[in-house]
Symmetry: C2
Subunit: 500 residues, 2 copies
């Protein structure tokens, strides 16, 4: 893996001085184009062995480019807000928006590599993490990001010499500590672990760029040119490269599907409804205060459904059993400007609850495989890859202790029509029916296909869908509440998070 980076690469002072001015001018130029177009972000990972010039390289990029449009995030121990959420949350919140350059000094690779070297992570667990990382980076690239992963390498002797050199220079001596020399001892282990990590994560979409760190001039010029060339190349790509499209999703030829098989005649009379509502609201209210929930779990509720299926009413019945200080309802409408400048899932990541808290999504990330698919707001390749991205997203929540409960509220076409007309007749403006609602009705069949595909492809063990027969509001509300209670009880009863 590191053979080409132990050849003693070097660039003489003369050449360096001659090359730099043109490189700087070109970098500024390309950065200007990047900013003007605002089509994609540049994500630069800076990693490698100690003393290989990571910090120097970052500072160099700042001095060669316009520092106002670069951000650098250093990640040490997670803050308590970060620790109370999935591992990747801190990286998501640090992603640069389109048009900007974000440098990660330390990244999603740092912790797994450190844990593996320390022996606190098994090889098989490491590989699971690396698979997650591969899918995460593929998602970034598919969303348009240019991802440049630098690994600065030093031979063992090279590292020792670099430390000595840093020590000799009064301007850099402070950077060499006992810990630096300590780390020399784990050199072999780092090479071994890093070699494996780099091999497994050296993907076509986000390959590693290994640079020898011994000679400052060589390293600086190499990084500068690569950044320049890669941004240039990406700017010239007029069409985003799409993942190959999967075979078309097939529909069962007998017309049966998960929605058609729902018994929409299911009802609950008023007396039963009130009894059960009270029962499950009391139970949920207790679960929300259980120490096992407050100290180690969070709850993510997703409500999807046809227009007028009663999402709002169900949400209110669930929320009524919680303390307002504990939950947040996030209605998903059009993304804001800041959200549009980020990968699709960014606007959902930002609302994930911390431990002991609840987020209720009124519509959700499933918009991509529902409305965006049906209306053609995104390409086929985009919504096809979304299934896997969404599964990853929910998996990460569950891994961090979140209980993820997803509802599809289904009503019949006639019942919807009846409710639309009813709403039109009431005088509360809030229930006004828009032309869009009527248009959506015309696409009923397309939505049915989309929903069935969604359920098939994203109903996972950790985050299964619950389909709710919602022609009768009483029945639907009780089913929703009951499901939330049961999922929570099951999760809190488990011996560990993973057992969920």
């Amino acid at each position: 893996m590191f053979e080409s980076a132990e050849l003693g690469h070097a660039i003489d002072k003369e050449t360096f001085r001659r090359e730099v001015p043109a490189l700087r001018a070109a970098l500024l130029d390309v950065q200007f184009d990047l900013l003007e177009k605002r089509e994609f972000p540049v994500v630069i990972l800076v990693s490698g062995v100690d003393g290989s010039g990571k910090g120097e390289t970052i500072n160099l990029l700042y001095s060669w480019m316009d520092p106002r449009h670069i951000s650098t995030l250093a990640f040490s121990a997670p803050t308590d807000e970060e620790a109370a959420r999935p591992y990747m949350w801190r990286y998501w919140r640090a992603l640069p928006p389109k048009g900007k350059v974000g440098i990660f000094a330390g990244s999603w690779y740092s912790q797994p590599i450190a844990d593996r070297i320390a022996g606190s992570m098994r090889r098989s667990d490491l590989d699971d993490v690396l698979e997650d990382i591969n899918r995460f980076e593929a998602m970034l690239v598919n969303e348009g990001a240019l991802v440049l992963k630098f690994w600065f390498h030093l031979s063992r002797d090279g590292q020792k010499q670099r430390l000595k050199a840093l020590e000799r220079d009064p301007r850099t001596a402070w950077r060499v500590t006992k810990a630096s020399y300590e780390r020399l001892k784990t050199y072999d282990r780092l090479q071994q672990v890093a070699g494996h990590v780099l091999r497994v994560t050296n993907t076509a979409k986000a390959p590693w760029i290994i640079v020898e760190g011994t000679d400052d001039n060589y390293r600086s010029l190499t990084v500068g040119r690569i950044v320049l060339d890669q941004i240039n190349r990406r700017l010239k790509q007029t069409e985003r490269q799409q993942v190959p499209v999967a075979p078309p999703i097939v529909q069962a030829i007998d017309g049966k599907n998960v929605l058609s098989e729902l018994d929409l005649t299911r009802r609950l009379d008023k007396k039963d409804y009130e009894k059960q509502l009270a029962k499950y609201q009391a139970r949920l209210s207790e679960l929300m205060r259980a120490p096992r929930f407050l100290d180690g779990r969070s709850l993510v509720l997703v409500f999807e459904g046809a227009d007028a299926a009663g999402k709002g009413g169900s949400i209110r019945r669930v929320a009524a059993s919680m303390d307002a200080r504990q939950y947040q309802i996030v209605p998903i409408a059009a993304p804001t400007e800041e959200e549009r400048a980020q990968p699709y899932l960014w606007r959902f990541w930002r609302h994930l609850p911390r431990t002991g808290r609840v987020t209720i999504f009124d519509r959700s990330w499933y918009g991509r495989v529902l409305v965006e698919r049906v209306e053609g707001f995104c390409s086929e390749a985009d919504w096809l890859r979304a299934y896997a991205e969404i599964n990853d997203f929910e998996h990460q929540m569950a891994d961090a202790g979140a209980v993820v409960v997803k509802f599809w509220l289904q009503i019949g076409a006639e019942e919807q029509l009846r409710r639309f007309k009813e709403r039109e007749a009431t005088d509360f403006k809030r229930f006004k029916i828009t032309a869009e609602d009527w248009r959506n009705r015309d696409k009923w069949d397309a939505y049915v296909s989309a929903v069935c595909d969604m359920v098939d492809r994203t109903s996972t063990g950790l985050a299964p869908w619950t389909l709710v027969e919602a022609n009768d509001k009483n029945f639907a509300r009780v089913k929703v509440l009951k499901t939330v209670c049961e999922r929570l009880e099951q999760a809190l009863a488990g011996n560990s998070r993973k057992a969920d």
Copy 2:
């Protein structure tokens, strides 16, 4: 203060049932209008004695209104991200955007009241805090927010009875703990402190609304009606109430001002420049790594100046002495959609550095009293009140340990013309001169007035302005660096933050 809230106010069940449906419908209606117009946010503070129905009231508002457009923030111990920034940072980040309702369960009043009761805050310090709060709330109202501050009161006996009643009901018994009864003992002290706090902060812009909490029906109906009436009233205000405009700012009749007195002929030759640049960069680099800085201070740099005055070049020289992982440069351009939905200063608050970090603002909150004033982008009342708001903002930073250094880079009119022409001649697109730059030149005198007023009104002991003679870039850059070093040294040498 609390006399009217000890009269045993009560509403019978019958009346309550009769009144509620119309109130709910009206609240939903008014909330819909609020959301449609997106002109202002509603900030509701819920505070008062234990057992007076704070939680119940919040949950009630959720069930009466559309919970998707309400957020509730409960504030307990600050997270470490919050603790590393000014006290008000956590409240700024929780402000609801225009069109939404934000409920604060616990607020900026909680800590001062608790500290005063515990005896850890002197009366005079409390009064300082209350003055800050008054100005903060006035700012919110001036920015358009509707601020409703509820205080729920119970007589001493009333509180004991409420606790007993909560205990009797199995659905609420869990909420009564030993601590609840403990707090009964401090009843008198709370009344005393709260009485003082409420009196001092009972302003015309954000008056307190004291509600007796004994009877649930009375409390609920009272709060519901007040929220309804106040939002309605605010919706009907077509013109925002402006603060009375201060007497016009006068210019000295001899034509002398702080800018005209600058000696723009000051220069530094290349040799001196390089020597001094190296000296101050090395010093700054050391200061940035000083434990006293890393553990208790942060640095906020503000760069303002005429077009082409050399802000960018100065920023780069300062940044070059810092580690990229330690600082962030924030270029201030047009606000984003999310920023426009918030008070003016919100977009600057969000970028404040945590302890040990640096934020460099390339243009800043002073836009309000410079470009917005000169171009008429805001009203006279808006920019006149901005001086005090800005002073408060910077004072809060300084109180939290930030060293605030502000630069105005001044060049002569001919020098600016020369630089414009030079830029037009270079082929780097990044230096392109826009029509706007030429237009700004026509308003030279108006900008001079605005700058002089700004310096006079916002150069404070904690955050003084440094005017930089910038006709010679070398001189300007060294003066900037030297000033940053000196301010930091002075701050780090001080015995305490306050001494700064």
